[in-house]
């Protein structure tokens, strides 16, 4: 009797997995990529708060605060004309080519703690790249518009995203800061849509949402 019920249980489970797979609504999985401290988590939090009322993760001024990719599923974004897109947002660790614990010491961190942070950040970059290869349908590439966009890592990352034929929106963040120069980012990546926003203040995010519906739907 127990064997029978167990078999029935597992058959039920398998059937439900089959059903879920069959009727699963296709969601677009959007990865927020960019160098450390560009404001990826701030934007992920803003998107999640605007459309679900929830947050994704903590933010800090110390680089590599996000060291594991974080996901927020089933975010429905509705545009002004009623068009909508259902997305999963993946907030990824900042991608960089060099991680040195010394940079964390400047923020008053203890050496041991800084070394652990560097190690976790390295694993985080590997994880971000793994997601990009396996499980991402579109990319929001975040840049700090007060900084030079022509950094090797940005050129490489945009190149990698292009080679994977993923739709990409480039976000020139931090336009609330006085020395922000989003035009520099526009001229650096003329082949992609660029939206200038302030993730912190929520400035111009409507334009980003419209672009997301247009590019990721």
């Amino acid at each position: 009797m127990t064997t029978f019920s167990r078999t029935l249980g597992s058959a039920k489970k398998r059937f439900s997995v089959f059903l879920r797979r069959f009727f699963k609504k296709k969601r677009t999985r959007i990865g927020i990529y960019g160098p450390p401290n560009a404001g990826k988590t701030t934007l992920a939090n803003r998107i999640a708060r605007d459309w679900t009322g929830d947050a994704v993760g903590p933010v800090s001024e110390i680089p590599h605060e996000t060291r594991r990719a974080r996901k927020r599923e089933d975010i429905v974004i509705t545009g002004a004309n009623g068009h909508r897109v259902t997305i999963d947002i993946v907030d990824t660790p900042g991608v960089t080519t060099k991680i040195d614990y010394h940079e964390f010491l400047e923020f008053g961190m203890e050496k041991d703690e800084a070394i652990i942070r560097a190690r976790e950040a390295t694993e985080g970059v590997a994880e971000a790249m793994h997601w990009l290869r396996e499980d991402i349908d579109g990319v929001i590439y975040m840049l700090d518009s007060t900084l030079d966009p022509f950094m090797q890592v940005n050129i490489m990352m945009v190149g990698i995203i292009e080679s994977r034929k993923l739709p990409v929106i480039i976000v020139a963040n931090k336009i609330d800061l006085p020395d922000a120069a989003p035009a520099r980012i526009r001229s650096a990546f003329p082949q992609h849509p660029v939206v200038a926003i302030s993730g912190l203040e929520g400035r111009n995010t409507e334009e980003l949402y419209e672009k997301m519906i247009h590019n990721f739907a």
Partner: protein, 137 residues
């Protein structure tokens, strides 16, 4: 037989390790091996050590250690590198994101020098077809 600095003439005992750091007086890097009997030849004949070096058949020793260390290190571009991650030191890493974007295979190099690698065989032993199955693109 002693050595003499070709620049300032300071004497150093045979086998002295001091000269490996260069002359203690003038920082000269070249030393002449002189015979015991001719140790004061430069003073008596009012010649420089370099002139004596030209006359004698002895080879002038040059401290090359410093020269080798001063050579600019050959910087290998990140995308030419074979390793995915270079561990420069504890808590200091260089990442090859181009390689990371292509596969999960991990080759790790340790230290600042080229030619020392750790290969994570487990990362390469994954079942490729299965992985592709789950792939969306």
């Amino acid at each position: 037989m002693p050595h003499k600095c070709t620049k300032c003439g300071r004497e150093y005992k045979d086998g002295s390790t001091e000269i490996l750091k260069g002359c203690a007086s003038c920082g000269g890097k070249k030393f002449l091996y002189v015979k015991e009997s001719e140790i004061n030849k430069d003073v008596f004949e009012e010649k420089t050590i370099e002139e004596i070096a030209g006359e004698s058949k002895e080879e002038v020793l040059e401290v090359v250690e410093h020269v080798a260390m001063g050579k600019p290190k050959k910087e290998v571009e990140m995308f030419d590198r074979v390793e995915t991650i270079r561990i420069v030191g504890p808590g200091s890493y260089e990442l090859n994101i181009d390689k990371m974007a292509k596969s999960d295979e991990r080759i790790v190099s340790v230290g600042d020098e080229e030619g020392s690698y750790i290969i994570d065989l487990m990362s390469m032993a994954k079942d490729e077809p299965k992985k592709k199955k789950g792939k969306k693109r």
